[in-house]
Symmetry: C2
DNA sequence: TCATAATGAGACATGGATGTCTCTTAATGA
DNA sequence: TCATTAAGAGACATCCATGTCTCATTATGA
């Protein structure tokens, strides 16, 4: 049943979001489903993790697509990327740690691409600084994104506060403007 | 022997830095040591991980102590924190993922404390912005720190480039100054 | 109502990592 | 040189998560 499958994927995202090495039995329990049923839908652990990654990436890509990033100046697009990521990134975050293990790099890149494009455009349009390599910029941006998402998953902050903080730090930094 | 113990701890930091769930056999091999010898020095996996955490924290704390952070304005102190972290943080980074499992929170806090103090002072002296909660500021700062360290461990950048980028982004942000 | 498919519960096998133990060999130091 | 200590090698035992299988029960739809 489709409902069961979704329940398993949602439960997996929640459990793995907290404990990336959680056993399948815990995920089944969280989903309110028998362990055998989980195995019927996802014959191996890897297939479950791939399933979570797949929907996680799909949700993110859909969010980015709906955000019309290329119609905004880069700094506003970045603000929107952060908001979308914190809203749609839970499943992605649950698996990103092991992404290299069972994720097609091309799928990961589908998520990264819209973000990279905004950064590239920002540098080209002189909205973003050009004195850092773009790969490095992307790496630090995703670090901020992922930590901000974690703050909300752990309920250390509200999503609004995390979004606000991530935008502020990434765009303008922690130094007080004078 | 003390040499053997250090070799094991260094090897553990290297291996766990790349694969946090690596088996003890791999660590023994990386250390050029028999598995039994590893168990003589560290009777359980947990004791090894605690050992790595302990020296990792000690190295960091020593680095911070030697940096005379409180004699510098906050922004310069932050620059120095980043440099120290990228130079001395390898062992810390190897275990930070599982830190809650077998680390005394008080030990973690010994590392965090000098950093928090600099942030607090920065806000007080109006060097850093005051419109974000300090916990949030700290969380995003450590996210940048950890990612910058990871870039160097994975040899995606030189330590110098990573330091420069982390300083720039955290203090001034990615937006081009005008 | 009846047939089919999905689920739950649980027994069972398997594999890999952890941890224990013994025996032998190599260092080290008095 | 000799005694003591550390190390290497490798055989076990054990635990736990994964994955398989069966059987009874429940849902669903024609």
């Amino acid at each position: 049943m489709q409902r069961t499958r979704s329940a398993i994927l949602d439960a997996a995202a929640r459990v793995l979001g907290r404990r990336p090495d959680a056993a399948l039995a815990e995920i089944a329990e969280e989903a309110g489903v028998g362990r055998a049923t989980l195995y019927r839908h996802f014959p191996t652990r890897e297939s479950l993790l791939s399933g979570v990654a797949e929907v996680g990436i799909a949700e993110l890509v859909a969010g980015f697509a709906a955000a019309n990033l290329d119609e905004l100046p880069a700094d506003r697009a970045i603000t929107r990327i952060i908001a979308v990521f914190l809203r749609n990134g839970a499943k992605y975050a649950a698996v990103i740690r092991h992404a290299d293990q069972y994720c097609d790099p091309a799928d990961i890149e589908r998520t990264a691409k819209p973000v990279r494009e905004v950064l590239t455009r920002g540098v080209r349009d002189q909205v973003l600084r050009a004195d850092l390599r773009e790969d490095t910029l992307f790496a630090l941006f995703s670090a901020i994104l992922e930590r901000a998402l974690r703050l909300t998953i752990d309920e250390a902050t509200t999503p609004e506060e995390a979004t606000e903080a991530a935008v502020t730090i990434f765009l303008d930094g922690a130094r007080k403007p004078r």
